[in-house]
Structures are given as C-alpha cells and as structure tokens.
C-alpha cells in the first residue's frame, strides 16, 4: 500500500562515519513498515527551489515510540540541507512506500549482502528472518571503513558477518561480492537479499543465479515523486508473462527478484521491451 503524508519532527541528526543517522517522529509511518520500504522526504524547507523528494530506505521503524530512522549520505544540495536540519524541524515525509522484501515460506539460510548505506534495511530484515527460524549471514562492504554502516548491529542480528572494504581499512580488502560465493556455495543457502549500488546488485544477482538461489534486490533508481505518478524511476523488468516492461521502481519495487531485472539494459531501451516499437524515431 501507499503511505501517508505526515509532518515528521526531527528528533536528532547524528553523524555515523561518513553518513548521518536521522531520527524522526512519525507514528503514522512507524506503525506499518516492512523491511525494504522507503520514505520520500521533501527537502529545502519553506520556499524551497528543490521540488523533488529524496527517497531513503527505512533503517528502523518502532511502532511503540512512533519513531523512524533513515541513513543519509550527503551527495547533493538536497541531502546537504537534510543532514543539517535542526532537531524539532518539521519534515514533510511520505511513507512507507514501495514493495518490501518477502520472507521465505519456509525457514532456511539467508544471505544478506549490503553495499555502503545499503545495509540500512537489512537489520530489520535479519531480525524478521531469524524470528521466522532462518539462519542469517550478512556481508557488508564499502569503499572504506567510514562508509560501513551498522557492523556492530549486524553481529547482533546475524549468525555470521563478513566485512569488506575496497581500501582494506576494515575487514577484508576487496569487493563485497568477493565474499558472497563462499556463502552461496556452502550447503543450504536458500535465499539472498541485497541492497546497494546497481553494479553490486547485478553482480550478486548473477552469482545467486549461478547457485540457483532466489535473490531479491532493493534497487536505487532516482525517483522524483516516490508514489508512482512521474514515471522517472523505471527500469526494464521481465514480467510473469515473460515480456519485459519499463517498470516503476517506486511502486512495483524497490524490491525486485534479481532474475527479473535486465541488468545490462538498465539505462537503455531494449527493442523487445513492451512498447519500444512505438517510440519510432524518438
């Protein structure tokens, strides 16, 4: 379901490594979040010249306190404004939005792979998987140690945690995907979940396919509205009927079955996508 629009007061903004952890008072949203869902936040305050909402995966949502948390990396004017808002500032937040990760029908062994702040939705997912009887192994990677988020928490919610950094400043030097095959190859991996940059999702999805393990990924497409009306957030996805369509990642995603995403065609328009022929010369 689509979320509600609320005025969420900022409780706190805390730097965490290279990121900022923003805590918001948003009971209507906190009441109904599932892992993988996101919120769309208006930025810039009154009279802002930045019209487009910024979307963030929910890190925590606590129905008892009414609070939600997001992890924000500063990489543009909108996020620069957001990470400097004072406590008490009301933010215009819409959520929870998007299709969440789905839990396996039967308990098994889940491998969770996260790149950078892509780990944000993984902790809640890990808890729910474990509560349902699954074993959970987490792999977290980032460029450098300050870009890893939630390693200690990962140790609390998972049976094992592997850490990689590109520069070797924490964990094993290398890519997060380097650590994945060992987990998939060991007997019993029954599901894979991934969140992070597109290239990482693609690599994880392809590995899962090799080991024939179902894989769900939460994609990061740029979204203007977050609620399904603008058609900016699309990517080519194969439907149950076997035909590919340009699909909105904000409402049909952000979580997709990795095997349905046409990774190499993201950012292009494959000729066999439904309706591509109607584009003519344009």
């Amino acid at each position: 379901m689509t979320g509600s629009q609320v005025k969420a007061r900022v409780v706190s903004v805390e730097p965490v490594g290279a990121y900022f952890l923003i805590t918001l008072d948003a009971p209507a949203i906190a009441a109904a979040v599932e892992p993988g869902q996101f919120v769309a936040v208006a930025v810039g305050g009154p009279d802002t010249a930045m019209l487009l909402r910024r979307s963030f995966a929910l890190y925590t949502a606590d129905p008892s306190t009414g609070r939600i948390q997001i992890v924000v990396a500063e990489h543009g004017r909108g996020t620069a404004w957001l990470v400097r808002v004072g406590a008490g500032t009301p933010l215009d937040v819409v959520g929870p939005l998007g299709r969440p990760f789905t839990l396996p029908a039967e308990p098994g062994t889940a491998v969770l792979v996260a790149g950078g702040y892509g780990s944000a939705p993984m902790f809640d997912l890990a808890r729910r998987l474990r509560a349902a009887g699954s074993a959970v192994h987490i792999v977290v990677g980032a460029g450098s140690a300050d870009r890893l988020f939630g390693i200690d928490e990962a140790r609390d919610v998972a049976d094992s945690v592997a850490v990689t950094t590109d520069d070797g400043s924490a964990g094993v030097r290398g890519l997060v995907t380097d650590a994945v095959p060992a987990l998939l190859g060991s007997p019993g991996a029954t599901s894979v979940y991934a969140c992070g940059p597109m290239a990482m999702l693609r690599a994880v999805g392809e590995m899962a396919a090799v080991y024939d393990v179902p894989c769900q990924v939460a994609v990061e497409e740029s979204m203007a509205c977050g609620i399904g009306v603008c058609m900016t957030c699309v990517l080519p996805v194969v439907g149950v009927d076997g035909r590919s369509r340009m699909v909105r990642s904000c409402v049909e995603g952000p979580v997709f079955d990795a095997e349905r995403v046409r990774w190499k065609d993201v950012g292009s328009l494959p000729a066999d996508v439904v309706g591509a022929g109607a584009m003519g010369a344009h």
């Binding site: 009154p46 487009l52 909402r53 203007a224 009306v229 058609m231 409402v251």
Partner: protein, 338 residues
C-alpha cells in the same frame, strides 16, 4: 487515512487570523467555485495536469480525487509505449526536466483499467490523447467518446510527431489545426481542448488556428524544451538529451501565454498550468484569463498539492470577498474602476 501536510507556510502572503480558513470558511458567504469549460460545469477550477498524476489512482491515499474539478489523465496513445531510457529526469532551480517519452499502456488498457476506476469514484476525467499522426488522434477520440467519466478531451499536440522528425504539431499552425479538426470530427459533442506549447514564436497564432479548426478551448502551457549538462561527465544528464522544463521556474512564461491568448481570444476558455504550487499561483492564472487550472509538477513535491491548492484558493477568494469564481477570470485585464 488522513494525511497531514506541512504546507501551511506555502499559503502565500501573511495570514490574517480568522480569514485564512482553508476548507471550512467561517466567513459568512462561501465563494462559488464552480467553473464552466465550453459548456462543461466543474464543481471547482483545480485539476491535475496530464502526466503528473497518472490516471488518478496513485493520489487516492492523499485525497478523494472526486473532490477535484477533474483528473487530467496522462496522455494516452493507441498502442502501449515504453517511454525513453533513463535517466529521464533532472532537478533544476525551482523546476525539473523530464524526458519520459509518453510511457503508457495504450488505449485498450486505459479503457479497461484506468477510466473505470475514476468513474467508480464519481471523478470527472479530462482524457489527454496523443498520436504520431492525425489519424491516430482521430482514432483515439473515436474510442473515447461516450465512455463513463469522460467530460473533456485534451489534445496533446505538443508531443513528438514522428512523421515530421521531432517537430511537434503545436509548433505549426496548420498541423495543429489538422489534428484539432480530425479530433473534433469524432468528438460527438465532447469539448475538445488543444494543449499548446510555449516554444513558439507567436502562441496567439497557434491558438487562433486551433480555435478556427474547432477547438472548444485551450490548455496551456506544456513544458519548455530544456537541457542540463553534467560537468563531471561532460555529457547531457538526460538519456533523451533534451527534456521538458516544468515547475515554478516556468510560471511567469505560462502566465504570460495565458494573458496573451485571453487578450486575443477572450471568449475561448483556457485551462491554465505551469508551475502552480499554491492557491495564489492558481489565482494568477485565473486573473490572467484561465477558467480552470492544472497542478502538475507540484504533485511530485507534495502529493496533496491539488486539494491543498484548492483550499488555499478558496480561502484567498473568500478573503477578497469574491462571490463567484467567474468574477476573477480575466480580471487582471480590466482597468481598475475609479
């Protein structure tokens, strides 16, 4: 669900306590917001904009779409259309560029899934149609006439015309007239509005040409063609290279277009749009000569924008002692009485 917005700050000029009443006007008389577009009476003048609210369904968590003057649906074509590659969007100062490329399910799916949803809710639909050829426009009109919820056809002649290599019908008075005439011939009494592009030398000439061809009214403006270059990659940001500029950045251009066309064609109803974020923005368009307005890009910023604009407009009119909406339409053209 009862969404709460924080847009009280956007209600415009300083509030006068007790007059800024939003939905429940406490002032004695209520302003009559009804408006008439070419014989079609709408309960109020605030509509969505084509391509900015899909077919209305996604707005349901934020409003009752039947509270709006009408829902203007995303331009529909005969066949399903994939739209362009990504990136399709870029934020610009007080606006955005888009190059969606008219992604849509095609008329069959639209008739099967989208319009019935609006009809069930008692919402009014202005259906925007787009074609690559004059015949496609006519065929779309034929398919739509008589369908429940439809109150008006908006002809998006500002979309790419494949036949003339990227030109748009709305840039050529003769091509624009051909489309309008063909749609009008099929419309069977349903009013036909032509949607104009501001990217022309003389918008009045195009407007006149559409009206001469039988257009019952005009929607203006569509987006302006724009472009953004990424200075890191040194390449255009949009996959489609150029895109349509919308949002408050274009509002002065839009108000000017409405003003010029209303001055030249005062009897032709205008659906005005371009950068409306607040009730006061909507009021500018009405004063310039629009009988109703569409709220487009603002929905991306605030999904409840259309109903918020409506309640702000109601409050602003009430505050000015306006009794009937029609009293303000085109009022900026009239010299003040001394």
């Amino acid at each position: 669900m009862n969404p709460v917005t924080i847009h009280d700050h956007e209600c415009g000029i300083g509030e006068i306590p007790g007059t800024h009443t939003h939905d429940h006007g406490e002032a004695g008389q209520r302003v009559d917001l009804a408006t008439t577009l070419a014989g079609v009476t709408l309960p109020n003048p605030v509509l969505t904009a084509s391509g900015c609210s899909a077919a209305g369904r996604e707005l349901a968590p934020f409003m009752d779409v039947s509270d709006l003057g009408a829902v203007v649906t995303k331009s529909v074509m005969l066949r399903p259309r994939s739209g362009r590659a990504t990136p399709r969007m870029a934020e610009t100062p007080s606006g955005m560029l888009n190059s969606i490329g008219l992604q849509g399910p095609g008329i069959d799916a639209f008739l099967e899934h989208d319009l019935p949803w609006l009809a069930e809710r008692g919402a009014r639909a202005v259906v925007s149609i787009a074609g690559g050829t004059v015949e496609e426009f006519a065929e779309l009109a034929r398919r739509l006439v008589g369908v429940p919820a439809l109150v008006l056809l908006e002809v998006n002649i500002s979309c790419p015309n494949v036949a003339s290599r990227g030109q748009v019908f709305a840039c050529d008075p003769l091509a624009a007239a051909d489309v309008v005439r063909a749609v009008k011939a099929e419309a069977n009494g349903v009013p036909v509005f032509a949607k104009l592009s501001p990217d022309v030398t003389d918008i009045v000439a195009i407007a006149q040409s559409c009206v001469d061809a039988g257009a019952d009214g005009l929607s203006m403006i569509n987006t302006l063609l724009g472009m953004l270059i990424d200075t890191e990659t040194m390449r255009p940001v949009l996959a489609g290279v150029t895109g349509g500029l919308s949002g408050p950045a274009i509002r002065p251009v839009a108000v000017r277009c409405v003003w010029q066309v209303h001055a030249a064609l005062p009897d032709v109803p205008i659906l005005g749009m371009g950068g409306i974020l607040t009730g006061l923005d909507a009021l500018q368009f009405l004063l310039a000569g629009a009988s109703a307005v569409s709220v487009g890009t603002a929905v991306f910023h605030d999904p409840s924008a259309p109903t918020r604009v409506l309640s702000e407009l109601r409050a602003e009119l009430t505050r000015r002692g306006v009794r009937r909406l029609s009293d303000v339409v085109g009022a900026a053209h009239r010299e003040p009485q001394r």
